[in-house]
C-alpha cells in the first residue's frame, strides 16, 4: 500500500528513476550487456564483431517480429523454428533443380522464384496453423506444436537427414545470387540485417498506422469486443500466423545464405528464442500489449548476450542458464509494469480530481496482473 501511495508523489517531482528504468528496461539491459562484455573482452566492442552479432540477431529478430504479431493477438506460434528449417531445405532443394521425370527435364528456378516459393511454404504452414486455431478452435499451443513436428519431419524426409551444401547456383543455369540474401554485405552491413530492418519498418507501419494493426491489438485485447465492433477476428488470426510463417521462411532463407548450406535441423528451439525476444521487449503473452521497437531490442538483448558469452568463453551450459534467467527476469518486470499500470493513470491528470469525481475510487490499486487491469473500474 505505502508503495502505491508514494508512486504519484514521486512522479509529481518530475523524475522517477525507477519508472524510467522499468519502461526502458530492454534498452538499458542492452547497454549494460554491451558495456559489461566490452570490459570483459577486447574484441567485443569492434565493428566487425557488431556486424557478426547483428547478422545473428537478424535471424532472431525476423522470427521475433512474426512472433510479436501472433502474441499481440493472444496466440503463440511454436512452429517457427521448424518452419525456418523447412524453408531452408525447400530453398536448398529448389537450388539443386527440380526434375520432372514425366517430361525428362530439370528446371533451375532463379533465386527470386526460390524466394517466393519458400515464402509460400512458410505462408502455407502459417495458414494451416491459423485455420486450425481460428476456425477449428484448436488451442494455439497445440496446433503450432503439431506443426512444429510436421514441418521438422517434412524437412528431414526431404533430405533424408542430410544437408544441402551447394547453394551457390551456376551462372549458366541463371540461378546464382543466393549468397546475396544473407552472406553478402550491402554498404558494409550484412544483407540479413537490411532484411530485418525492412521487415521491422513494414511491421511497425502496419501496426501503428493501418486498420490491420488496430485489429491485431483489439483481437488480442478482447476478441469478443473486437468482433462485435466489426473486426474480422478470424481473418486477423489467420493473417498473423501466415505472416509469422513468412517471417520464419525469410529467416530460413537468410540463415541458409549466411551458412551457405541448408540443413533439416536448422532452427531447432529457435521458437523459444523468438518468444523470449518478444517477452523481453515488453509484450504481454495475454495479448494486446507490445510493439516492434521493444521486440527488436529484445532480439538484440538475446543475441548480444549469447554471443558475448561465447566470446568471453563461458561454457554453453552456462549460456543456457544465463539466457533462462534473463527471460524469467523479463517476464517478472512485465508483470510489475502491467500491474502498476492503473496506478499511473491517477497522477497523469493533476486537474482531474475536481473535474471528474465519479472516477476517483476507480483509481484504487488493482490486482497485480495486466489482464484484470481494466476490470475493477466497475463501480457499485
Amino acid at each position: 500500500m505505502s508503495k502505491q501511495r508514494q508512486a504519484p508523489v514521486r512522479q509529481r517531482g518530475g523524475f522517477d528513476l525507477g519508472r524510467l528504468l522499468l519502461e526502458g528496461r530492454a534498452f538499458f539491459a542492452l547497454i549494460a550487456i554491451i558495456v559489461i562484455f566490452s570490459l570483459l573482452s577486447p574484441v567485443y566492442f569492434t565493428t566487425n564483431n557488431f556486424l557478426t552479432m547483428s547478422s545473428h540477431v537478424a535471424i532472431f529478430g525476423l522470427l521475433s517480429i512474426g512472433m510479436l504479431l501472433v502474441i499481440l493477438t493472444g496466440g503463440i506460434d511454436l512452429s517457427v523454428g521448424s518452419t525456418l528449417g523447412l524453408a531452408g531445405v525447400v530453398a536448398g532443394f529448389l537450388m539443386q533443380g527440380v526434375t520432372f521425370d514425366l517430361f525428362g527435364v530439370t528446371l533451375y528456378p532463379p533465386v527470386w522464384v526460390v524466394v517466393i516459393l519458400t515464402c509460400g511454404v512458410g505462408a502455407l504452414i502459417g495458414a494451416i496453423n491459423g485455420v486450425l486455431i481460428a476456425y477449428f478452435k484448436v488451442p494455439a499451443f497445440v496446433a503450432t506444436l503439431g506443426l512444429l513436428y510436421v514441418a521438422r519431419g517434412v524437412a528431414l524426409l526431404m533430405t533424408d537427414g542430410l544437408t544441402y551444401n551447394n547453394l551457390g547456383g551456376q551462372p549458366e543455369l541463371g540461378n546464382t545470387g543466393f549468397d546475396w540474401l544473407g552472406f553478402n554485405r550491402l554498404l558494409g552491413v550484412p544483407v540479413g540485417v537490411w532484411v530485418l530492418a525492412l521487415v521491422a519498418i513494414v511491421t511497425l507501419l502496419a501496426l501503428a498506422r493501418t486498420p490491420f494493426g488496430r485489429w491485431v491489438y483489439s483481437t488480442g485485447g478482447n476478441a469478443r469486443a473486437a468482433e462485435l465492433s466489426g473486426v474480422p477476428v478470424k481473418r486477423v488470426q489467420v493473417s498473423v500466423y501466415v505472416l509469422s510463417g513468412i517471417c520464419a521462411a525469410i529467416a530460413g532463407l537468410v540463415l541458409s545464405s549466411q551458412l551457405t548450406s541448408a540443413g533439416p535441423t536448422a532452427g531447432t528451439t529457435y521458437e523459444l528464442t523468438a518468444i523470449a525476444g518478444v517477452v523481453i521487449g515488453g509484450a504481454a503473452l495475454t495479448g494486446g500489449r507490445g510493439n516492434v521497437r521493444g521486440t527488436l531490442l529484445g532480439a538484440f538483448v538475446i543475441g548480444f548476450l549469447s554471443d558475448g558469452l561465447v566470446i568471453i568463453g563461458v561454457s554453453s551450459y552456462w549460456q543456457t542458464v544465463f539466457t533462462g534467467a534473463v527471460i524469467v527476469l523479463a517476464v517478472l518486470l512485465n508483470s510489475i509494469q502491467y500491474g502498476g499500470r492503473r496506478k499511473r493513470a491517477a497522477p497523469a491528470s493533476p486537474s482531474s480530481p475536481a473535474s471528474a469525481p465519479p472516477s476517483t475510487t476507480d483509481r484504487e490499486p488493482a490486482a497485480a496482473d495486466g489482464k484484470s487491469a481494466g476490470k475493477p473500474a466497475v463501480q457499485h
Binding site: M1, Q4, R5, P8, V9, L205, R209, T210, P211, R214, W215, Y217, S218, G220, G221, N222, R224, A225, A226, E227, L228, S229, G230, V231, P232, A284, G287, G288, R289, R341, R342, A345, A346, P347, A348, S349, S352, P353, S355, A356, P357, P358, S359, T360, T361, D362, R363, E364, P365, A366, G370, K371, A373, G374, K375, P376, A377, V378, Q379, H380
Partner: protein
C-alpha cells in the same frame, strides 16, 4: 482453525442456546451493535475517496449501502472486509477498535465478503469449494466423509439440499451464491458483506436468496448489503446508509424512509428517466424481424428464440422487457449477427441482412451494444480513444494508412456527443467509472452512424444519473436522427421511461405488447413474473 470453526462446532454452540434467546428477546438483541464505522476516511494519493463515514451495523439486521457508481460504496466495503485500510477513523467490532491487516484477518474476526463475481472454483465440487484452503485432515489425508457431512448439514440449514459432490459449474448462479454463503457460514461469520448479490439472479432466485437472508438474520448474522436494485434492497433492509461522492449523506432506519428518499439522497435531486420523445412522426420500418428462431446452444431441438416477429420504425424506441432466460440477449445477438439463426429473416430497411457478418451489418447501419461491457464491449488494453474509434476505423483510413488527425476528430466528436468524462482520448479505459465506460461502448457504436441500434441492458451496473443520461442520448438520437432503437431491460421501471412501445418477452416469444401508458404491474404480469408487493 479448521476444528474450531467447523459448522458442526458452531451448530452445537449456537443453536440450542442462541436460537431461543434470539426468538425471545428479539427487541432487546436487535439493538446490539456489532460493527461501527467512526469517522472512517480513505484517500488514494491526493484523491479523497471516502470522507467521515459513520454508521452502525446491528446484530441480526441488514444494513444496505446505497450510492451511485463512484460514491464510495466499494471503498467502504473493502475497508470493512480488510482489503484496504482506512487512512483515518476507526472500525469498532463489538465496541473494540480493530484493524484488519488482510481479508483473512477480517475473516478470523467473523467478517466475510461475498463478491459480485463469485470466487468459487467451478471445476470443484460444492464440498471442495466450501473447505478450500482449510481442509479437514484425518489420519489418511483429507477426511472427505466428514467434509461432505458438514457440507450437507450446511446446505440443509440453508434450505438448498444440494449434493456435496455436485460440481459447482453444474449449479445455477443462485445456487452458487448459496454455496458462497455456506462457505462464509462455515468459518463462523457473524457479519456477511454481500456485493450486488442479485445482479445476475432471476426473480425466483432472488426470492430464495432473500429467504436465506431472513434466515441468517434470525440466527443473529448481520448483513451489509450493496445493490443497485433500490426497490429490491428496500424489501430486505433494516437500515440504509447513503453515500454520495465519498460522503455519507444519510443514515436511517427502514421504517423512516422510502425509495424517493434514497434516490434524493443519492443524487441530490429528484430523478426521472425521461419520457418517450414526441413531436415527430415515426418513419418507415427500419428493422423487421420475421419469424426468427435461435436454437439453444446446448439442447439443439429447443429454441431460445421461437418464431419471433417484430418491426421497429425509424425514430421509434422499443423496450424489450423479460426475465432472465426469456431470450432477449439471444434475440439481439442474433439480429446483430453474433449468433446464427435457425430460421427466419432479419431485414434492415427492407434489405435481407440475415446472411451478413457482424462487420457487414455494422456497415449497413445495424449495431449492437452488448450486455456485458467488460466481456464484450471494451478492449481493456486500449485507450479510451482507441476503443471509441474501433468500430469506425474505415472513416479515418485513407488508402492503406489511418490518419491520426481524422481519428482524433472522430474520437473527440464521440466524447462530446455522448458526454464522456475522461482525462482525454489517451486515458486508460480502466480509469473511467462504470457509467462512462458504458458511454464509451455506446459512443463507439454510434460513431458508425447506424440506422438501428440494439442495446442489451444498457443500464446494467451503472448509476441512476448515468442511466438517465444514456436514455436521454437514445431519445435524442431517435428524435433528431430518426434512429430506430431497441433496448432490453430487466428493471420494470426502465420500461416506463423513453420507450414508445414495450414488448414483453417470455420463453423466446413475444408475450405481450404495450404502449407507453401501461402500468408496471401489467408488464410484470405479462412476463410471467410474480408481482412482488
Amino acid at each position: 482453525m479448521a476444528s474450531r470453526s467447523t459448522p458442526h462446532a458452531r451448530h452445537a454452540v449456537v443453536e440450542p442456546t442462541a436460537a431461543g434467546a434470539h426468538a425471545n428477546g428479539a427487541g432487546h438483541h436487535d439493538e446490539a451493535i456489532v460493527l461501527s464505522a467512526r469517522d472512517v476516511a480513505k484517500s488514494f494519493g491526493s484523491v479523497q475517496a471516502l470522507k467521515t463515514v459513520n454508521f452502525d451495523v446491528y446484530r441480526g439486521q441488514v444494513t444496505t449501502l446505497f450510492g451511485e457508481n463512484g460514491a464510495g460504496k466499494s471503498t467502504l466495503m473493502k475497508i470493512l472486509s480488510g482489503v484496504i485500510q482506512p487512512t483515518d477513523g476507526e472500525i469498532l467490532l463489538e465496541g473494540e477498535p480493530v484493524r484488519f491487516a488482510s481479508t483473512t484477518d477480517a475473516q478470523r474476526l467473523g467478517i466475510s465478503i461475498i463478491h459480485q463475481e463469485l470466487s468459487l472454483a467451478p471445476n470443484l465440487s460444492v464440498r471442495d469449494n466450501i473447505f478450500m484452503g482449510r481442509e479437514i485432515k484425518g489420519p489418511t489425508g483429507i477426511d472427505y466423509a466428514e467434509e461432505a457431512r458438514q457440507t450437507r448439514a450446511l446446505m440443509e440449514e440453508l434450505d438448498e439440499p444440494i449434493d456435496p459432490l455436485t460440481p459447482v459449474e453444474d449449479l445455477r448462479l443462485g445456487q452458487q451464491q448459496i454455496v458462497e454463503i455456506a462457505r462464509a457460514l462455515s468459518v463462523d461469520s457473524r457479519i456477511l458483506i454481500m456485493d450486488e448479490p442479485t445482479s445476475a439472479l432471476s426473480a425466483s432466485e432472488v426470492e430464495v436468496l432473500f429467504r436465506v437472508i431472513r434466515d441468517l438474520k434470525s440466527r443473529g448474522v448481520s448483513i451489509v448489503y450493496i445493490s443497485h436494485h433500490l426497490e429490491e434492497a428496500l424489501t430486505i433492509t433494516d437500515h440504509a446508509v447513503v453515500l454520495r461522492d465519498g460522503v455519507m449523506t444519510a443514515y436511517a432506519r427502514r421504517a423512516e424512509i422510502d425509495l424517493e428518499w434514497i434516490v434524493r439522497n443519492m443524487v441530490g435531486e429528484n430523478f426521472d428517466l425521461g419520457s418517450p420523445p414526441a413531436g415527430y412522426a415515426l418513419g418507415e420500418v427500419a428493422l423487421s424481424i420475421e419469424d426468427l428462431s435461435v436454437a439453444d446452444s446446448s439442447v439443439s431441438e429447443r429454441s431460445v428464440v421461437d418464431h419471433l416477429s417484430l418491426e421497429v420504425r425509424a425514430g421509434e424506441i422499443v423496450c424489450l422487457y423479460g426475465l432472465m432466460g426469456a431470450g432477449r440477449t439471444e434475440l439481439l445477438e442474433c439480429v446483430a449477427g453474433r449468433v446464427p439463426s435457425s430460421g427466419g429473416q432479419v431485414r434492415l430497411e427492407g434489405e435481407d441482412v440475415s446472411h451478413l457478418s457482424i462487420a457487414e451489418r455494422i456497415e449497413k447501419g445495424l449495431v449492437l451494444v452488448p450486455e456485458d461491457r467488460q466481456r464484450d464491449g471494451l478492449v481493456q488494453t486500449m485507450s479510451v480513444g482507441e476503443n471509441l474509434s474501433l468500430a469506425s476505423i474505415k472513416a479515418f483510413t485513407k488508402g492503406l494508412l489511418t490518419s491520426g488527425r481524422r481519428e482524433r476528430g472522430v474520437v473527440e466528436e464521440s466524447i462530446a456527443n455522448v458526454h464522456i468524462k475522461t482525462d482525454g482520448p489517451r486515458a486508460e479505459i480502466g480509469s473511467l467509472s462504470g457509467g462512462n465506460q458504458q458511454k464509451v461502448v455506446i459512443g463507439k457504436m454510434l460513431a458508425t452512424h447506424p440506422r438501428v441500434v440494439l442495446l442489451d441492458e444498457p443500464s446494467r451496473g451503472i448509476d441512476i444519473g448515468a442511466k438517465a443520461e444514456v436514455f436521454k442520448l437514445l431519445a435524442e438520437g431517435a428524435a433528431s436522427q430518426g434512429l430506430a432503437v431497441i433496448f432490453s431491460t430487466s428493471e420494470v421501471g426502465e420500461c416506463l421511461s423513453i420507450a414508445h412501445r414495450i414488448v414483453v418477452m417470455s420463453r423466446g416469444r413475444i408475450a405481450a405488447e404495450f404502449g407507453a401508458d401501461i402500468s408496471k404491474e401489467q408488464i410484470m404480469a405479462a412476463s410471467g413474473e410474480a408481482v412482488v408487493a
